[in-house]
Symmetry: C2
Subunit: 125 residues, 2 copies
Amino acid sequence: MRKQNSTNALNEQQLTFNCPIASTLKMVGGRWKLIIIWNLREKSFRYKELQRSIPNITEKMLTQQLSSLVEDGWVQKKDYGEIPPRTEYSLTPLGKSFIAVLEHIYDWGKSNNIIGIANARYGNE
Amino acid sequence: MRKQNSTNALNEQQLTFNCPIASTLKMVGGRWKLIIIWNLREKSFRYKELQRSIPNITEKMLTQQLSSLVEDGWVQKKDYGEIPPRTEYSLTPLGKSFIAVLEHIYDWGKSNNIIGIANARYGNE
DNA sequence: TTATGTACATACAATAAAGTGCGTACAAAT
DNA sequence: ATTTGTACGCACTTTATTGTATGTACATAA
């Protein structure tokens, strides 16, 4: 749980307060959220499908990040109420509109060889 | 210091390995780096100027993030070798080219009222 | 002569994020 | 009768990030 009054939390809050970029990052930052969104860009996924399509993500992380994305309105969940359980995740209109932004970053990263730069510095022999 | 072999670190590494978006985020993620880059978009700044222009950033954070950005090739530093010290920070071509991406995010965030959404969820009365 | 400003460095503490290892309930397949 | 699969929940530990409190060296201003 977060400490509401830590300098840490307050700093983050003030930054998001007047910057769309910081606000965006606050909601989709972290290791997994963008990957989840990116995976959902073309079609909806069931929970386990999503898990299989994202290497190394644990169930805890997937559940946690998904529910946060749902709360924040980027992803929507359809629960079929069946047993065994079946759920389906897809992007909301907000999430879909964000794909254009991601594609922009993607293209920029490719034309600037960002993977190469990152690997050179942070290692991946 | 980072633990090279933690699952944590390995996961991050594998994600950046083949995704320009993850690679980009790895280099400019965190609380302060984008703000620093954003501040430098129009002109170069001296160290203390930058500090004054970014509310609440501590000297440790500013120094640390700046040197990381310099290492990664987003920002360049000019040290005048004077006493009292004088240094100047500005964007490299890579950093400058990234401003277009940030503007894109900025515009998207504005038209989608991201600040409003973020504040509604994470509070800022 | 005491204070102020510059651009840092560093030990340490606090906070946040991510990962591990368990358990649930029910159903169908082996 | 035991295993496998689905979609989670939760207590706990490990890592990572951020912040706090100092100190440095020299110079000019009050």
